[in-house]
Structure formats: structure tokens, C-alpha cells
């Protein structure tokens, strides 16, 4: 044991000397010590909701790692071939080489299915965490000056991520994704004036496209969009580090400072822990929970489709909008000017993102608040913003849920036609209700400062011998430390 301890101390002294020498080596050449000092002292305010963006970043890393592996095997070709691989049920089927290569990844490449499923799960987690991150940013007012620029960058990344995910599962050329591409073609065609040119340029002709189509999709999926995302992630992080993170109000927290855990060592270790935990969860679900079993869908042919098809969840809102839309087309003098898919497939997402992009400027105009904000709001303290956000969100979520009306019909037997007619009105009525309910709930919470989501709210009373009720202090439900948060006085402008 003594010998072991001596060896350990020898190793650690050796490592210390190497480390010192290494630091001197780089310093003489780059002189980065002040920057490293700044970086190690960089302060992160602690709140669980700040981890959502980190989860997105870390799932992106997993996507790159698993994606590189998949790209080694993927064949971007629509040339037809007859399958004779290891999955017997598809033997003799005519399919594209692209689909064959992905079936081979699943069944002929060791650990291939694990990496493919992990990649697919990671894409879902990536987009979900961006959406949740966006909701956190919106409801706490983190998009306000000076972070509005960064908010625009984030929205752009969300759009790119959705497109990237859609193109990713379209590369497979299975029956399900082929139907998705057909719809994408219909949506591209529907853009007024330029739709025909645009769709023939993207597909290299009429759907299903010329022989280079999957090569085009692949270069966009593995190079153009990931590279753009990487660049934007760099900009996103650089901007936030320049401005520092926003923080919730609390003891010693003012508009002009930032209170929290420094990067080195505690925060770095915890964040690395999060990276590893995200990776762990993705590999666990990738190994244990089946996702997109493409061998069950079979190969795509333009003249085939399957019933009950559903896209990945982040495309669901567009499917809902396409299904909900009445069959209006703008036809002038017998010529189609605006085909129907334009409304649900182009106008609807453009409107949603347009509102999101415009929001910071709109809010500045209506509140006349041009100041810089580094303290976050509690959602309840801004009832109107919270209510508008909740109403808008519910509008999109209901349209998303309408994409599943056919499943409701299969499961519960409620008429599909009836459901569609109901929701054509419902998507306008319900968000208004959500708006008013949220606003009054936020106002009530802001006034009473109740915390309905934090467990025990009451206090235990005991009546004394002389009949006077007293609160027993030790049974008050608040955790220690919570008392340090200021109660209501956290409205904007009440700068600490």
C-alpha cells in the first residue's frame, strides 16, 4: 500500500511538472493566460431551466458523432436494386440503393442499428430542447435588449434544425419518408409564381426527382446545414459570453452583475456531467427503444402509400395545418394562383416564425421600454406577455394535435370529418380562452405570491392553552434559502 501511495504521488508530481511546462510552452507562443483566467472565472447563474440550451448543444455533438458514422455507409442513390441482404422479409423487393444502404446499416453493420437509432433519438431531443429553451427565453423575457440579437440567432437555428431533421429522415427513402418528401414537393410547388421553378430546381425535375436528388439532400444534410448550425452556435455562445447570462432576481443579484458558480472547477464538471448524461440517455434509448423501424415501412414508390402515417413530431404542426385547411385555392380565370398547400405548409410556419422574430420589437414598441434588461422576469409578473405567449403556444399546439385526429378516429371512433369541423372553430376559440385564463391566473399569482407548484403551502397552527392560535415555525414549508429570494418586487425597472 505504501508503495502504491508513493507511485501515485510520483505520478501526480510528474503530471504537475508536465502541466506547468505545457502551460509555459503555449504561453510563449500564444499568450492566452488572461483569456483562460477570464474563462475559468466566468460565472454561470444557477437555474435548472438554463440547462435546456446546453442539452440542445450536447445532443448536437452526439448528432455529429453518430452522423459521421452513418455517412460512411449511406449511399445517396435512387437507382433501383433488388434486395438480397440479411433481412429476409424484404428479399426480392425492388428498392432504391439509398434505402438498401440504410437497411444494411440496421442489419449488416455491427452496432449500426444502435448508432442509427441514437442519431434519430438525438435529433428529436435536439429539437425538443431547443423548443423548450425558446419557451424559457420567451416566458422569462430573456429575449429583451441586449439579448434580442441572440434570440434571432436561436430562432434561425430552430428553423434550420427542423429542416435538418426532416431532410435527415427523408434520406432513408422508406415508404414513410417518401410520402413526406411528396408532401414537401407539393408544398414547394404551391409557392405562388416561383413554386414550379423552385420545385424543379430542388428535385431536378418532376417528383420524385432525377438521379442526383438524394446526393443533393445528403450534401445539405451532412454539410451545409450542420456547418451553418455550427457557425451559428459559435455566434450564439460568443454573444452570450460577451453579455453574460441573464439571471433571476435574488440576493445580491442586480441588473449590472451576475451571481453564480464560476466555470472552474464546479460548473465545468457539472456541465461535462450533463454532456455525459445526455449522451448516456441517448445511447440508452437508442439501444433499448425502437425508433423509425424503416424495415417495417418498406421501400417507397411514388404510386404507394400507407395509412395512418405520421411524421416526426416537429413536422406535426405542419401536417395539422395542412389537414385543417378548408380546400381554398386562389383561382383567377381558371388558372391556379395559390394552391392549397401554401396555406398550411408555407404561410402558417412563416407566420409563426414571423411573429416570433417580430416579438422583441413589438414589445418594445408597446411597452415603450428601451432599457437593457439583465434580470429575468417571473412569468406571473408580466401577465399580458405570459398570456399572449400561452395563447399563441396553445394555437400552435392545438394545430399540432390536429395532425393526430386520424389516430383519434381509429382509437376512439370519433368521426374524422366531425373532428376537423370542430377544430376549424376550436383553434380560434381555445387560444382566446387560454389567453384570459393565463392572464387572470398570472395576475392572481403575482398578487398573492403563492407557489402552487412547490409542494406544501400551508402552515401548521396550534391553539395555545389560552385559546390563541399560533403558527408553528418549523413546519413552514419553504426550503431554507428560498426566503432569500425577494417576493414580488421583481418587476422590470426595480433595479436592485
Amino acid at each position: 500500500m505504501v508503495g502504491g501511495a508513493a507511485v501515485v504521488s510520483l505520478i501526480s508530481r510528474w503530471a504537475h511538472r508536465r502541466f506547468e511546462r505545457g502551460v509555459r510552452y503555449t504561453e510563449q507562443r500564444l499568450g492566452g493566460a488572461p483569456m483562460f483566467k477570464w474563462l475559468m472565472r466566468y460565472v454561470f447563474p444557477d437555474h435548472w431551466s438554463f440547462l435546456l440550451g446546453e442539452i440542445a448543444l450536447y445532443s448536437f455533438l452526439v448528432l455529429i458523432a453518430t452522423g459521421v458514422f452513418l455517412a460512411m455507409y449511406y449511399v445517396p442513390s435512387s437507382a433501383l436494386t433488388v434486395y438480397h441482404g440479411s433481412y429476409v422479409l424484404l428479399h426480392g423487393q425492388q428498392m432504391s440503393e439509398a434505402y438498401e444502404s440504410v437497411v444494411n446499416i440496421c442489419f449488416s453493420v455491427p452496432a449500426g442499428l444502435l448508432l442509427r437509432q441514437t442519431h434519430h433519438w438525438a435529433a428529436n431531443v435536439f429539437i425538443a430542447s431547443i423548443v423548450l429553451h425558446l419557451m424559457r427565453i420567451f416566458f422569462t423575457g430573456a429575449y429583451r435588449k441586449p439579448r434580442d440579437l441572440n434570440y434571432y440567432v436561436g430562432l434561425t437555428m430552430l428553423m434550420l434544425a427542423i429542416l435538418e431533421g426532416f431532410i435527415g429522415y427523408s434520406l432513408v427513402d422508406d415508404l414513410l419518408s417518401g410520402m413526406g418528401l411528396a408532401i414537401a414537393y407539393g408544398v414547394a410547388l404551391s409557392i405562388p409564381l416561383i413554386g414550379g421553378q423552385l420545385a424543379t430546381l430542388v428535385w431536378g425535375g418532376q417528383f420524385p426527382g432525377n438521379s442526383t436528388f438524394f446526393a443533393r439532400l445528403e450534401i445539405v444534410h451532412v454539410f451545409l446545414i450542420p456547418l451553418t448550425l455550427l457557425g451559428l452556435i459559435g455566434v450564439h455562445l460568443a454573444m452570450i459570453m460577451r453579455q453574460h447570462h441573464s439571471q433571476f432576481p435574488g440576493r445580491g443579484r442586480r441588473e449590472r452583475n451576475v451571481v453564480g458558480t464560476p466555470m472552474w472547477p464546479a460548473y465545468a464538471l457539472r456541465s461535462i456531467g450533463l454532456l455525459l448524461a445526455v449522451t448516456a440517455v441517448l445511447f440508452l434509448v437508442g439501444g433499448l427503444i425502437q425508433i423509425n423501424p424503416i424495415w417495417q415501412w418498406g421501400p417507397y414508390h411514388t404510386y404507394l402509400s400507407e395509412n395512418g402515417a405520421q411524421p416526426d413530431w416537429y413536422i406535426g404542426w405542419l401536417i395539422g395545418a395542412l389537414r385543417l385547411m378548408p380546400n381554398w385555392e386562389l383561382v383567377i380565370d381558371g388558372r391556379t394562383v395559390i394552391p392549397n398547400p401554401f396555406w398550411g405548409g408555407v404561410a402558417f410556419p412563416l407566420f409563426v416564425f414571423g411573429v416570433l422574430y417580430a416579438w422583441p420589437a413589438l414589445e418594445r414598441r408597446f411597452t415603450r421600454d428601451q432599457r437593457r434588461h439583465d434580470l429575468l422576469d417571473r412569468p406571473r409578473d408580466h401577465p399580458t406577455r405570459t398570456a399572449i405567449g400561452a395563447g399563441f403556444l396553445s394555437w400552435v399546439v392545438i394545430i399540432f394535435a390536429v395532425g393526430a385526429t386520424d389516430r383519434v378516429y381509429y382509437r376512439l371512433g370519433i368521426s374524422y370529418v366531425g373532428e376537423i369541423h370542430f377544430w376549424r372553430a376550436g383553434i380560434w376559440v381555445l387560444p382566446i380562452l387560454v389567453f384570459f385564463i393565463t392572464r387572470s391566473a398570472a395576475r392572481a399569482l403575482s398578487r398573492s405570491d403563492a407557489r402552487p407548484l412547490r409542494g406544501w403551502q400551508g402552515a401548521v397552527m396550534r391553539r395555545d392553552l389560552d385559546g390563541i392560535p399560533r403558527v408553528l415555525d418549523e413546519s413552514a414549508g419553504d426550503e431554507p434559502g428560498e426566503v432569500t429570494e425577494p417576493p414580488v418586487g421583481t418587476r422590470p425597472g426595480t433595479d436592485g
Binding site: G273, H301, R323, N327, V331, T336
Partner: protein, 343 residues
């Protein structure tokens, strides 16, 4: 592939292990933690700064154990890769487990082993008005002494625009002109063949109440206009416009299989087996957005988002009883675009 019991055993083992780790970490006797780490009651004042050195040997032991366990899991992955290459569940468990244990080690170390500090940093005043003004002046000073500034700006814009346009022009080679959208493989006399065997359909084998997928003989089966729906309707359901007289010999009718809404293949056919049903007529429904078309009325839309009729293919039956196209579709097939040819 599916080695259920082994996978389940592993899951159970992992769950038990995680529980043990969790309980041990949570159930740390408060006294020992308190003795090792002097609990610093945060001062009530404005300054939240604090630094605490946990010096917790027990936590250090846990981190080491977790790291060794992670190494074991990672080695297990390599072993599984060699002996059970295609057991996706086992591989995922081993690799995910290795990362999970590493994550646990990093988080325990981050929260209980290394110094815990709360720091305060001041934020920069972002706007430095004087510096911003200087930037503007420096940029504009770059144009000092230039007398024909307007002319040069104008020329730069023209050159820039022209070069960008020139560089962007090859994008046009990505596709043929949009007139290729009108392409269809159907001509008068082309036989309708089966989608799997490529044998031609005879009129006799088309029964009332089912639909058949047909493709053009010798045509590209993947072309958008190739697939058609072939049905036979009894005369009571057929109400074709006068202009389509003779398009449905013996009640045989063919329609493009591609929905004119968004391009999915139509795969649902409702035929009223019993008298009163929701649609009293035979109907095609697209499974993507549920546009519903009546073949008996020439492909008319009765429900859903489709904005135009399903294009109909005129048919004829030749002397040998084979079904043939009597011409091309009466409209463009596939999703609509600006200026699509409607029926």
C-alpha cells in the same frame, strides 16, 4: 436480435445499482457531512460571495467507484461488440451505462468534491458612445480625398450585383424548366399493367368494390403520373360530365393515384357495402390529409384540403379484353402550382 431475458436482467441490475448509488449519496449521514464541511450560513447582507471546500473523502471514494464502474461498462461494450455484434439492446445498455456512470462521477465530483464557490461578476457597459463614434469616423476616413464618391458607390453596386447574378446563374442547371411538370407517361393505346407483376389488366378481372393499382406498360413506374387507380362502378354511381362521354367503358374508370393536394398516393377506397353510409357513393381518400374524391362524379372533391378534381384517365377496352388508355389525363397530375392545367 431480441434477447429479452438477458436485456431485462441487465436493466434490472442497472436500476438496482443506480438505486444503491442514489440512496448512498442521499443517505449520507448528515453528521459526517457536517463535520467534514463546515456549513457556512449565507450572510444576510447583499454580498452573496462564498467559497466552500467540501473535503469529503466519502464522495471521493464514490467518484472513484463510479469511474471504475464506467470503465467496466465501456469494456463490456467492447466485449459485446466482439461476441454479440447485433444485440442492439445489450450494446446500447453497455455504452449508455458507461456514459451514465461517467456522468454520475462528473456530477458528484462537481457538487461534492471540488471547491464550491459563488462569485459575483460585474457586467460590462456594452455601449461605449465615444468608441462607437470613433469607429464611424475611422471607417469614413477611409474615403478621404475621393471626389467622385457617388459614382464609385454606384459602380461598385452594379459590379457587385452583376457578379453575384453571374455566380448564381449556374443554379439554373440544377433542374429542367418548370414545363417538365406537365410530363405524363400516358398516351392513347398504352395498356394498364399490374404494379408487381407488370402483367396487363383485362377488363374481366376488375371487380366492383375493389380498387386496383395500375402502371403504364413500358413506362417508368416511378414517374409521378404513372400510378393510376382502376375501379369498376355500377351505372347507378356514374355521373360523368358530358365532355367525358365514353371515358368509362363497362363502368371501368381510371384516375391518377397521386393526390392533387400534396402528392401522396391515394390508398383508401370506400365502397358502400350497406346502403346508408357516410358517403353514399364510392370514394377515394388520400391517407396524408384525407382529401376525398368521388370517382363516379369524375373525381370531384367532397372533403379535405384538395383544391381541384382528381385527374381522370380516359379508358378503352381492346379486342382482346385488355384495358388501355384512350388518351392522356384531362389535367396535370400531382400537386398544383401557379398555372397548373386543371380539368
Amino acid at each position: 436480435m431480441n434477447d429479452g431475458p438477458k436485456g431485462l436482467g441487465l436493466i434490472a441490475g442497472l436500476v438496482v445499482a443506480l438505486r444503491v448509488v442514489w440512496r448512498t449519496l442521499r443517505g449520507r449521514p448528515a453528521s459526517s457531512a457536517g463535520a467534514a464541511a463546515p456549513v457556512t450560513e449565507p450572510p444576510r447582507g447583499e454580498d452573496p460571495r462564498q467559497r466552500e471546500i467540501p473535503s469529503d473523502r466519502r464522495a471521493e471514494t464514490w467518484v472513484a467507484l463510479l469511474l471504475f464502474a464506467a470503465a467496466a461498462c465501456a469494456l463490456a461494450f467492447i466485449v459485446f461488440y466482439v461476441i454479440e455484434q447485433f444485440d442492439t439492446q445489450l450494446l446500447g445498455l453497455a455504452l449508455g451505462g458507461a456514459f451514465a456512470l461517467l456522468a454520475a462521477a462528473a456530477i458528484v465530483a462537481g457538487k461534492m468534491v471540488v471547491p464550491q464557490a459563488t462569485e459575483v461578476e460585474e457586467r460590462d457597459e456594452l455601449l461605449d458612445a465615444a468608441a462607437a463614434e470613433e469607429v464611424v469616423e475611422m471607417v469614413e476616413a477611409g474615403g478621404e480625398g475621393i471626389s467622385r464618391r457617388g459614382l464609385l458607390t454606384c459602380a461598385t453596386c452594379v459590379a457587385g450585383g452583376a457578379v453575384v447574378a453571374a455566380v448564381a446563374t449556374p443554379v439554373a442547371s440544377l433542374g429542367p424548366a418548370a414545363k417538365s411538370l406537365h410530363a405524363s407517361p400516358w398516351r392513347r393505346g398504352v395498356r394498364l399493367v399490374k404494379d408487381v407483376t407488370a402483367e396487363p389488366y383485362t377488363a374481366d378481372e376488375i371487380e366492383i368494390g375493389s380498387f386496383y393499382t395500375a402502371l403504364p406498360e413500358h413506362g417508368d413506374p416511378e414517374a409521378l403520373g404513372a400510378g393510376v387507380l382502376l375501379v369498376r362502378l355500377p351505372p347507378r354511381y356514374i355521373h360523368l360530365p358530358v365532355s367525358r362521354h365514353g371515358w368509362a367503358p363497362h363502368g371501368l374508370m381510371a384516375f391518377s393515384k397521386i393526390c392533387p393536394h400534396a402528392g401522396c398516393a391515394i390508398s383508401l377506397y370506400r365502397y358502400p357495402t350497406y346502403a346508408p353510409t357516410s358517403v353514399a357513393q364510392p370514394a377515394f381518400t388520400c391517407p396524408c390529409h384525407y382529401s376525398t374524391f368521388l370517382p363516379g362524379r369524375g373525381g370531384e372533391v367532397v372533403f379535405g384540403p384538395a383544391g381541384r378534381e382528381l385527374p381522370q384517365l380516359p379508358l378503352m377496352v381492346d379486342g382482346d379484353g385488355y384495358v388501355r388508355a384512350a388518351g392522356d389525363f384531362d389535367a396535370d397530375v400531382g400537386p398544383s402550382w401557379w398555372g397548373v392545367r386543371r380539368s
